[in-house]
C-alpha cells in the first residue's frame, strides 16, 4: 500500500468512528458539505483523533483552515 493510500485508510477509519458512520467512504475530495455530520465540532473531534493516530499536534490556524480531507492529508504529510 503506498503512503497516501495508507493515510486515507487510517483517516477513513477515524471518520467512520467519529461520525459513527460505519460504511462511510471518503476521498481526498470529500468536504464537510458532502459528508453527513461533518460540522466544525466534528472537525475538532476528528483532529483530536488524527493527532492521536499519527502522534502529531496541529496548530489552531491549520485546524481552522481545514476544508477537505485533502487539507488533512497535507497537514499530516507536512
Amino acid at each position: 500500500m503506498d503512503k497516501q493510500a495508507d493515510v486515507i485508510s487510517r483517516l477513513q477509519a477515524i471518520f467512520r468512528e467519529e461520525l459513527d458512520l460505519p460504511n462511510l467512504q471518503i476521498s481526498p475530495q470529500s468536504t464537510p458539505d458532502d459528508v453527513d455530520g461533518w460540522d466544525s465540532l466534528a472537525t475538532i473531534r476528528i483532529v483530536a483523533a488524527v493527532e492521536r493516530e499519527f502522534d502529531r499536534e496541529f496548530e489552531a490556524a491549520q485546524i481552522e483552515s481545514i476544508r477537505s480531507v485533502a487539507d488533512l492529508i497535507s497537514m499530516i504529510a507536512a
Partner: protein, 626 residues
C-alpha cells in the same frame, strides 16, 4: 484519568460498536468502564438504537437535563448520555449554549418549555463573569464579586419562576488569560482574589437556596489547571475546558444529578486481609500484620482506615466482608494496637467463607439499604470482578496494585457525594449498627458457575523441582488455614520428597483472565499398596471458591487409576487455624474411616465409584511427562 473505573477490554470495545437489540443490562455493564468521549458517544448511540416492546420499562431512571452554557457545550451532550448509563439513568440532554444564560432563557424559551427539563445546569464558566482584575482595590473587589453573585441569584430566580426545577451551580476556575502570581493571594482585586470571592459567595448562596453545587474548581485542582484548560480549544471553538476532560466532568455532574433522583452511595464495605491491614491474618497471625508506622504498607493501611473513619463521621455506614475464620479476624480487629477503626464503627461484620456476592446481598437485607447504595473496597481483582459480574449496581473501585496509591484513586471518585450535611447525617451511621444481626442463610450467588467460567482458569500442575523449592517450602511453613495436616517441612525435606520415587509431589499455579496468581497449592502423597495416601494438602485462601480442590482431586484420582490403586486416603489434623477444612474430605465425597481423640479424622475415597468433578478449570499437567 478516572482510575477508579476499570478499563474496557477488547471485547467490551467490540461490543460497544456492535451491541444491538434491547440489551440494556449489557449497555449498563459496559458503561461501568472508563470510556473516552468517543466511547461514551458510541454508548449513547447504542442506547438511542434500543427498541423495547411497548410498555416494557428500561429499568433506567429517565432524566431530562437542560445545560445552559455561556461557552460551547454541544460536544458534552452524548458524553452526558453515555455517562448517565453508568449511574442507571437514561439522560436526555438539551444544550443551550454560546450566550449568557439570561439571553438563552429568552432565546430558547419555547424549546426549553417543550423539552420540560427535570433539572437545570447553570454551566457558567469564568468567562461569563469576566472578573477583570481591580488589583489593589479592595472596595472594587468586593463590589465585583457581589455583582457576580447577585447576577447568579437573578438567573436562579428566573429559572425558578419559569420552570420550578432544581438547579446545579458551578464554581469557577481561573481564567488562564489573566496575570497569576504568588503574590495575587495577597492582593485584593487580583483575578485569583476575585474568583475566590465569587466561589465563596456562590457557595453561600447555594447553601441557602438548597440547590446543588458542582465544584468545578475542585475538579480542575485535582487534575491541575494546566491540564483542565486547553488554550487551543478555547481559541478554536470556545470550549470551556479541554475536551479530553469531558468524561470526567460528565461523571461528576451526572453523579450530582443522580442525587436528586434518590441515587446516592451510603455504604462502604471493606475487606480485611490486604485491605484493612497488610497480610493474611489467618496465615500470618495478628502479630505479623502490616499495620501502623514502620512500613509504608502499614502506614497506607492505617491511612485507609482513617479515611473510612472520616466517612463514618459523615454518616456513611461501614461494613466488613471478609473470607476468614470469624474468631481469628475479629480478635485482630478488636485487639491489634494499631487499628484506627473500632468494632463499634462497623455496622455489620460478615466474616465467613461464602462468596462475597452472597455476603453483600445479606448486608443489603440486614441494613435494608439497596445494593445501589453500596461501594465495595477489596484488594483482590477476582473478588472485584465477581461483584461487578453478579451485582452490577454495586460500585466497585478499581485499585492500583500498590496500596499506598489507593487513597487518591478512591477519593477522586467522590462516591459518597451528598446534597448537604447535617448533624443527623453524622449520627445516621450509628443507627445501623444497633443490631448486627447476621443473615442465617446465605444464598450462594446463583450464577457462580458462569462467573467461574468467565475467569478462564488454568491450573498448571508440576512435580516439585529445584526452581519451585524455595516457594514450596515457604507455603508449607506459612499456610495455616487451608492446610489439612499442617506438617511443616524444611527446604531439605522438600528436596528429599522431590527425589523420592514413592512420593507424588504437586506444585500448582493458577492463572486466570487477571493474570497469574502464582503458586497457590501444594500436595505431597505417598504411593501405598492399594492407595494414594495424602500427606500434605494445602492451598492459598486467595483462590478459595474457584474449584481448585475439585480439580486437584480429579487429578489425584486419575493418577491413582494410572497406578492401579483403588483408593485415595487423607487425614485431617485439627489446629487452631484450620477449621475451614474440617469438612474438606467430606465435601469432596470421601468416607469417614476413623476418628481419634483430639479430633483427627481419617478419610477414604473409592477410585472406582468416583465421578470427575470437572470444575471450570483447564488442567495443564506437566507431572505425567516425568
Amino acid at each position: 484519568m478516572m482510575r477508579w473505573l476499570p478499563q474496557p477490554t477488547t471485547s467490551d470495545i467490540e461490543l460497544s460498536r456492535s451491541l444491538g437489540g434491547s440489551n440494556i443490562a449489557d449497555l449498563v455493564r459496559l458503561a461501568q468502564c472508563e470510556w473516552d468521549a468517543g466511547g461514551l458517544r458510541r454508548l449513547a448511540t447504542r442506547l438511542a438504537g434500543i427498541q423495547l416492546p411497548d410498555g416494557q420499562p428500561t429499568g433506567l431512571q429517565a432524566v431530562r437535563v437542560l445545560l445552559l452554557s455561556n461557552s460551547t457545550a454541544r460536544h458534552l451532550k452524548e458524553t452526558l448520555i453515555g455517562t448517565g448509563l453508568r449511574h442507571g439513568m437514561r439522560v436526555d440532554v438539551m444544550i443551550s449554549e454560546y450566550e449568557d444564560p439570561e439571553v438563552l432563557l429568552v432565546r430558547d424559551y419555547d424549546s426549553i418549555v417543550s423539552f420540560n427539563p427535570d433539572i437545570v445546569v447553570l454551566a457558567m464558566d469564568v468567562h461569563a463573569f469576566g472578573l477583570r482584575p481591580a488589583a489593589g482595590n479592595a472596595e472594587a473587589a468586593a463590589a465585583i464579586a457581589s455583582r457576580a453573585v447577585d447576577r447568579l441569584r437573578a438567573i436562579r430566580e428566573s429559572v425558578r419562576s419559569s420552570f420550578k426545577k432544581p438547579v446545579v451551580v458551578q464554581t469557577l476556575t481561573l481564567d488562564p488569560g489573566h496575570v497569576r502570581l504568588h503574590v495575587d493571594r495577597l492582593i485584593p482585586g487580583s483575578h485569583a482574589d476575585l474568583v475566590g470571592r465569587v466561589n465563596a459567595g456562590l457557595s453561600d448562596f447555594v447553601r441557602s437556596s438548597g440547590d446543588l453545587l458542582l465544584d468545578v474548581a475542585m475538579l480542575s485542582e485535582r487534575i491541575g489547571q494546566d491540564n483542565w484548560n486547553s488554550a487551543r480549544h478555547w481559541a478554536l471553538a470556545k470550549y470551556p475546558f479541554a475536551p479530553e476532560n469531558a468524561p470526567l466532568y460528565a461523571e461528576h455532574l451526572v453523579r450530582l444529578v443522580a442525587l436528586k433522583f434518590g441515587k446516592s452511595r451510603r455504604v462502604l464495605v471493606l475487606d480485611l486481609d490486604n485491605t484493612m491491614w497488610g497480610g493474611i491474618v489467618g496465615d500470618d497471625g495478628k502479630e505479623n500484620l502490616l499495620l501502623g508506622p514502620g512500613s509504608p504498607v502499614g502506614e497506607a493501611h492505617c491511612a485507609l482506615q482513617a479515611m473510612a473513619k472520616e466517612l463514618r463521621d459523615r454518616g456513611i455506614v461501614l461494613c466488613v466482608s471478609s473470607k476468614n475464620e470469624e474468631s481469628v479476624a475479629l480478635d485482630a480487629f478488636r485487639t491489634h494496637p494499631e487499628m484506627v477503626l473500632a468494632e463499634e464503627d462497623i455496622a455489620v461484620f460478615q466474616i465467613n467463607w461464602t462468596d462475597k456476592a452472597a455476603n453483600l446481598q445479606a448486608l443489603s437485607d440486614i441494613l435494608s439499604l439497596g445494593l445501589d447504595s453500596f461501594v465495595f473496597l477489596d484488594d483482590n481483582p477476582a473478588e472485584r470482578a465477581q461483584i461487578r459480574f453478579a451485582l452490577p449496581q454495586v460500585a466497585v473501585p478499581e485499585l492500583p496494585k500498590d496500596v499506598t496509591e489507593w487513597i487518591p484513586v478512591f477519593q477522586s471518585a467522590c462516591y459518597f457525594e451528598t446534597t448537604g450535611f447535617t448533624v443527623e447525617d453524622r449520627d445516621r451511621a450509628s443507627y445501623y449498627r444497633a443490631d448486627a444481626r447476621r443473615a442465617a442463610q446465605l444464598k450462594s450467588f446463583a450464577r457462580q458457575e458462569d462467573y467461574l467460567q468467565s475467569l478462564d482458569m488454568e491450573l498448571l500442575v508440576n512435580p516439585f523441582d529445584a526452581i519451585g523449592r524455595k516457594r514450596i517450602a515457604q507455603l508449607i511453613a506459612k499456610s495455616n488455614q487451608f492446610n489439612l495436616t499442617t506438617r511443616r517441612y524444611s527446604e531439605a525435606d522438600v528436596a528429599a520428597a522431590e527425589a523420592d520415587p514413592r512420593r507424588i509431589t504437586l506444585q500448582m499455579r493458577l492463572s486466570d483472565v487477571f493474570g497469574d496468581n502464582g503458586m497457590i497449592g501444594v500436595v505431597i502423597a505417598d504411593i501405598g499398596a492399594d492407595a494414594i495416601e495424602i500427606d500434605t494438602w494445602l492451598m492459598s485462601c486467595r483462590v478459595l471458591g474457584r474449584g481448585v480442590p475439585e480439580a486437584t482431586l480429579d487429578w489425584l484420582v486419575a493418577r491413582a487409576r494410572d497406578l492401579g490403586k483403588g483408593f485415595v486416603r487423607g487425614v485431617y489434623i485439627p489446629t487452631k487455624k484450620n477449621m475451614m477444612v474440617a469438612d474438606h474430605y467430606r465435601n469432596l465425597g470421601f468416607e469417614l474411616t476413623g476418628e481419634r481423640p483430639g479430633g483427627e479424622t481419617a478419610w477414604e475415597l473409592s477410585v472406582d465409584a468416583y465421578q470427575d468433578k470437572k470444575p471450570p478449570i483447564r488442567i495443564r499437567d506437566a507431572v505425567g511427562a516425568h
